[in-house]
């Protein structure tokens, strides 16, 4: 017990002594764990909403439809086919135009019973289910139109009232709805000069009325189509059922399996998830960069501490326990906070897309997510402990006590080059030359950030053009912009943390060299400028590399993964790229100014 108390006291003392470093370490691990949590939660959330909607609405395994009344008998016969356990319908469906608040949209209008169906009973999310004169709108469609319960709508010249909003698993949400009307449908943009058949529906939404209302509208509208929802004994064999029954109706019946509806329904979530996972990878790289600098710096520093503990009688086990206790504390706090923040932030991204995929389900933490995030945080703690503990155990106590910080590197050509430069640049180049690995990490951090921002710029422009092209609706663009926004905020935050961490590590590492430069006549301002410039120069190189080839490669990778067509995107123009690089450099200069200023003004006599 006494030993445990000793370990905890020593760990807490060290934290108190180096609060800034401990706080930065906490932030770096926190950023990594939050990112990881977000990525994992969103991965799970991408497919769950459809599953929950399917369960809540008794979703069909196969949706069958015919475009002519003459094929209705064949459709009804399907209800008693081998393998079918339950069915609902056939329900009449017509195409038409819906007007609400001055906006008009093509719709597929399905006639339903007011009573509950055993298969595909849409889940009402607001208001009530259909009644004569009362229309229920598919939730994503209503969201896109801005329609809500109580609004008057016009269908085929007749007025109806929106009595409810509902979600279904029988069809992908608006604007990806499947086509079940005889006249056919087209989704996406249509060139202005192209004349489409009058009966063809463009980006149709889904509306439910009572069967009586649909039949009364049908007299003045297009011919009636019919839709039948089937439950199978073997839902996984839905495609096999479709293939097996295809010969019996000679292609008159269109059939769609629940798996194909799932694929279409989660397309947007998949896009969001791809964006977030790529963002998560970038953030992961940034987190690794800051962790390397911080943990690396602390490990070098702790070799002496190991020597001190050994000198006062600490065994290698005690030494390892003290170091492990320090990192465990930070890692566990960071893991817990990361899990909470990630879990709280994930619904902000999934809520609106969950509405689109037809469910009010929200993303939640799973045991495996908690396990993975905690394991990663603890992994950092163990690695950070193991290196100095093993190094300390191997070296003699005297050597460990005498161990100065890692000796600086000599980069002869940079030293020679610096002699021709003004004092701040001379010192800056030498500061950079002392720790080339740290310079590379700083450069990589900025390159990753700028690559990410480059891709965000491309995607933002792409999304800005979407309402015109029809590939995404306004609501979907909002969701994807939301995802990009979260991506941007976390990316910039972590990049800022990195810039500060690397500068602070540089300041600490150069305190002796800075004090000596001051003793030899460098002014505090020259030393401060040198410390900041030592970060800004790699940032400039990183910004350039982040645009080319970084941004181009990252964008190509995203296109490769998503199967996107880069011809449809607009790449940033040169002035935007130059602005991006300049803003990056200015931001790094601003972020490094405070630590560099503090480093340049540290009293010389305290250090020398």
């Amino acid at each position: 017990m006494g030993r445990i108390l000793l370990v905890i006291r020593l760990a807490l003392r060290d934290f108190r002594r180096r609060r800034t470093e401990a706080a930065l370490l906490l932030i770096a691990i926190l950023a990594a764990t939050t990112t990881l949590t977000l990525g994992l939660v969103l991965r799970d959330a991408a497919s769950d909403p459809y599953e929950s909607t399917r369960a809540a609405t008794s979703g069909p395994d196969v949706v069958a439809s015919v475009g002519r009344s003459t094929d209705l008998a064949a459709l009804e016969k399907l209800a008693s086919a081998a393998g079918v356990t339950e069915h609902s319908g056939p329900y009449p469906v017509i195409g038409g135009k819906l007007e609400v608040s001055g906006r008009t949209s093509d719709v597929q209008v399905e006639g339903r019973d007011a009573t509950v169906a055993v298969v595909d009973q849409p889940e009402v999310t607001q208001g009530s289910w259909v009644s004569d004169g009362g229309a229920v709108l598919e939730a994503a469609f209503a969201n896109s139109l801005g329609a809500s319960v109580g609004d008057p709508v016009t269908l085929g010249g007749r007025s109806f009232e929106v009595v409810g909003l509902a979600v279904t698993a029988a069809m992908p949400p608006y604007p990806g709805a499947s086509c079940i009307v005889a006249g056919g449908c087209v989704n996406g943009a249509i060139p202005e000069d192209q004349n489409l058949p009058q009966a063809l529906l463009h980006n149709p939404g889904l509306v439910w009325l009572t069967q009586a209302d649909v039949r009364s509208l049908a007299a003045a509208q297009a011919p009636i189509s019919y839709v039948l929802n089937l439950k199978l004994a073997d839902p996984e064999g839905a495609q096999a059922f479709v293939d097996a029954t295809a010969g019996g109706h000679s292609g008159a019946i269109r059939m769609q399996t629940w798996q194909s509806i799932l694929a279409a329904a989660t397309e947007l979530a998949r896009d969001s998830q791809i964006l977030l996972l790529i963002g998560a990878w970038l953030l992961g790289l940034l987190a690794v960069a800051s962790l390397s600098v911080l943990v690396g710096g602390r490990m070098a520093d702790q070799t002496r501490r190991v020597g001190l503990l050994k000198a006062v009688g600490g065994t290698p086990g005690l030494v390892a326990a003290v170091l492990l206790a320090e990192y465990l504390l930070v890692a566990l706090v960071a893991a817990a906070a990361g899990l909470v923040i990630g879990a709280l932030a994930a619904p902000l991204l999934t809520e609106s897309s969950a509405g689109l995929v037809g469910s009010a389900g929200t993303a939640s933490l799973t045991v495996s997510t908690v396990g993975v995030v905690t394991a990663v945080a603890l992994g950092v703690a163990v690695v950070a402990t193991a290196v100095p503990a093993v190094r300390g155990a191997r070296t003699s106590t005297v050597s460990a006590l005498a161990d100065a910080a890692r000796p600086p590197r000599r980069t002869g050509w940079l030293i020679a080059l610096s002699t021709r430069l003004p004092v701040p640049l001379l010192l800056a180049l030498r500061v950079a030359a002392r720790r080339p690995r740290r310079v590379v990490l700083g450069m990589a951090s900025i390159a990753v950030t700028v690559s990410g921002i480059y891709v965000l710029m491309v995607l933002n422009t792409f999304l800005g053009n979407q309402p015109g092209t029809g590939a995404y609706s306004d609501a979907q663009v909002t969701v994807l912009r939301h995802v990009l926004g979260v991506w941007t905020v976390i990316l910039l935050l972590l990049a800022a943390v990195n810039a500060i961490v690397i500068t602070w590590a540089t300041v600490l590492d150069n305190r002796h060299a800075s004090a000596l430069a001051r003793a030899l006549g460098a002014t505090p301002r020259e030393v401060s400028v040198a410390l900041a410039t030592a970060q800004v120069l790699p940032a400039l190189v990183g910004a350039v590399l982040g645009v080319f080839p970084g941004g181009f490669l990252l964008f190509a990778a995203i296109n490769g993964i998503t199967g996107g067509d880069s011809d449809k995107t607009t790449l940033p123009v040169p002035w935007q790229l130059i602005t991006l690089m300049l803003v990056t450099v200015l931001a790094v200069a601003g972020l490094t100014a405070v630590p560099a200023h503090l480093g340049g003004r540290r009293p010389v006599t305290d250090v020398l």
Binding site: P408, I415, T419, V423, H512, G521, V604, T605
Partner: protein, 248 residues
């Protein structure tokens, strides 16, 4: 040997440096008066913690006094801005430290030329001056060596060369032999003797009587104040080893 003139190049009046307050008040330097003439070598002796190094930091503008004045060539410097003090250290005052404080990643010649480069000399002029100094100090063959490849005495010679790089008015040396063995101490003693002969003004802080014996004047310091001043007749003789008991 050069003769020291009577003009004080460095002067301190009622110099004080205090740390803490109330019962925790510590007077590291307590009312020191000092005049150092041009070309003179002054040694300040005393036990560890008596305030010698603090006094040296105050004289060179590395630290601010709590009271009193420091004048360099008749100009008050204790109230200068940090920037002006830095410029003063580039041109007029330089330091030699006990721990050498050489940049580990720079060669001997690069360490020496650093001061000149910071003072705005051209790279060529700075390098020429550095090589001349290393040559004069017997390190011509070691100019491309890193400090880690040099002995303690050689490192201190490099540090002295760096201090002389900009031909300062005063060189302040803080325990210059504190980290050296006997042979290296002799080496540095001879070096300071040569500097004295060249007319370089030196203020040396030491607790080693052998070093103090090479000075023109010696001050004994205790608890932050000078308690004794000794004018050493004859100064250095050029046979330092015998004088301080290090040689044959």
């Amino acid at each position: 040997m050069s003769e020291a003139t009577d003009t004080p190049v460095l002067r301190a009046r009622a110099l004080r440096k205090e740390y803490g307050k109330g019962e925790g008040l510590v007077r590291a330097v307590d009312g020191v008066d000092l005049d150092v003439s041009a070309g003179e070598t002054v040694a300040i002796m005393g036990p560890s913690g008596c305030g010698k190094s603090t006094l040296l930091h105050l004289l060179g503008g590395l630290d601010r006094p709590s009271g009193g004045e420091v004048l360099l060539n008749g100009r008050r410097v204790d109230n200068l801005s940090e920037k002006a003090l830095s410029r003063m250290r580039r041109a007029d005052i330089s330091y030699v430290f006990q721990s050498f404080h050489l940049m580990e990643e720079l060669t001997a010649v690069e360490n020496v030329e650093l001061s000149a480069l910071m003072a705005g000399h051209s790279p060529r002029a700075a390098r020429r001056r550095a090589e001349e100094l290393l040559d004069q100090l017997g390190l011509a063959g070691r100019s491309r060596f890193l400090p880690s490849a040099l002995s303690g005495g050689q490192r201190q010679r490099v540090a002295v060369a760096r201090a002389l790089s900009n031909q300062p008015l005063v060189v302040l040396a803080d325990e210059p032999t504190g980290n050296l063995d006997s042979a290296a101490t002799l080496d540095v003693l001879q070096l300071f003797n040569e500097l004295h002969e060249y007319g370089q003004t030196l203020v040396i802080v030491t607790h080693d009587a052998r070093i103090a014996a090479t000075a023109d004047r010696m001050f004994s310091m205790r608890d932050g104040t000078f308690v004794d001043e000794t004018r050493l007749t004859g100064g250095t003789t050029g046979k330092l080893g015998a004088l301080v008991g290090l040689g044959d």
